[in-house]
């Protein structure tokens, strides 16, 4: 049985841990609001971008000569996976969920005897993947220095992807991130960005656009930008998810610490009372024997 002193020490230590988790929860809550706002502000851009590309790709009749970023290289041999994670831990299952999703995709690729290349964005993803997939990781990017998510960073990742594509280093590119649904739920997403998935056919919207210069040139200018935009969107969703996930995790931790303190306090009081009773009995039985 632990001594009174040990119990007292444990109670203080749990209490100070609780203080930390509580503070982290509140910081995450404040950051979450900002991240959510940013994610909402960034939405019109990517939506409009999607619209324009949709309109453009519809008006392209010559599929053979269409930009490769849109229709793909015609092969599916080399897959490039961009895994977007956080730079910091203590945020519940946030990082693990993305990794899990990515790993199941990796296994599929490997079992089909295709080549796999991985780029990790965010240090936590790299830490978790390097043990098992070290030989596949071609690049590891981290934006620890930038305080806020900015487009400039996303553009850097986008440029790396484009560069690799132009050197024919991959055929298919997919990104993995967490989509922010609400504070408790974040859904790990797998999204293919090269070639662009054209499953969203919008019918009844046959506006005849005038293009200046022609469609091909606009598309080849636009598609690289779209990749950066998609990555930026993923980063925004990710940062909102990270804060949400951290908030929930820290809330749970605070509650658990509270329960632990309660239990320890009861145990402490009990053993203190037991000690007092024992002393009393000793005194009484000592007095009686006289």
């Amino acid at each position: 049985m632990p001594s009174l002193d040990d119990l007292r020490k444990r109670i203080t230590s749990v209490k100070s841990t609780q203080k930390i988790t509580k503070a982290m929860k509140m910081v995450a809550a404040a950051k979450l609001r900002k991240a959510q706002e940013n994610a909402e502000k960034g939405r019109p851009y990517s939506e409009k971008m999607n619209n324009v590309i949709l309109n453009l790709s519809k008006s392209i009749t010559d599929k053979e000569n269409a930009p490769k970023l849109l229709v793909g290289t015609g092969e599916e041999k080399v897959h490039l996976c961009i895994v977007l994670t956080a730079d910091r831990g203590l945020c519940g299952g946030f990082n693990t969920n993305i990794i899990k999703k990515a790993k199941s995709y990796f296994e599929k690729i490997i079992s089909e005897n295709k080549t796999l290349k991985i780029i990790t964005v965010g240090s936590k993803g790299y830490d978790q993947l390097k043990r098992q997939y070290k030989s596949y990781i071609v690049e590891n990017i981290s934006f620890k220095e930038s305080k806020n998510i900015n487009y400039f960073d996303a553009d850097k990742v986008g440029k790396i992807i484009i560069e690799k594509f132009e050197k024919n280093e991959f055929d298919v590119c997919a990104i993995f991130y967490n989509k922010f649904k609400n504070v408790i739920t974040q859904i790990p997403q797998e999204q293919q960005i090269v070639p662009l998935n054209e499953d969203k056919e919008v019918s009844g919207n046959d506006n005849d656009y005038e293009f200046e210069p022609d469609e091909d040139e606009i598309l080849s200018n636009l598609l690289p930008k779209n990749i950066s935009t998609q990555i930026f969107k993923a980063m925004l969703e990710n940062s909102a998810s990270e804060q949400g996930s951290r908030m929930t995790a820290m809330d749970n931790a605070t509650r658990n610490a509270g329960e632990l303190v309660d239990r320890l306090t009861i145990e402490y009081n009990r053993s203190r009372q037991a000690a007092i009773t024992k002393e009393l009995i000793e005194i009484i039985s000592g007095a009686e024997s006289l």
Binding site: N38, K41, G42, P44, Y45, S46, K48, M49, N51, V52, N55, L56, N150, Y151, A154, D155, N207, D208, Y209, E210, F211, E212, P213, I218, N221, L222, K225, S228, T229, F232
Partner: protein, 132 residues
Amino acid sequence: MSNLFNIDIVNPEQSFLSKDNVFEVVIPAVEGEIGILKDHIPIISFLKPGIIRVFSESEEQSFYVEDGIVEFKDNTLSVLTSSIFDLKDADKNFVSESISSAEAELSKDNIDDQKRFLLNHKVEVLKSISIN
């Protein structure tokens, strides 16, 4: 009948400008400036470095853009750009920095004609800003 239409300028981080009372917008499209009035036919084009001028009933605004895409449809002009600032709050240091970085880029040997043209143009526009 009113001759006004809507304009939305968005950059990746936020909606930069949204107005519903403009009657003319001049955009630096890649093949020359385009003036857009109400009921222009639907058009998609992209931008070269230059000045967007927005004329509304009450005021005239000018913005510097580096690149972007414009779409005009149903009397709404959408401008998507990653780098834009209002000429009124142009930062002297930023402008001169951009000029020097563009000039440094120009002095490299491995750029093609199209890029050289765009960079030259960028320097020109930026210089015209810093004179004002």
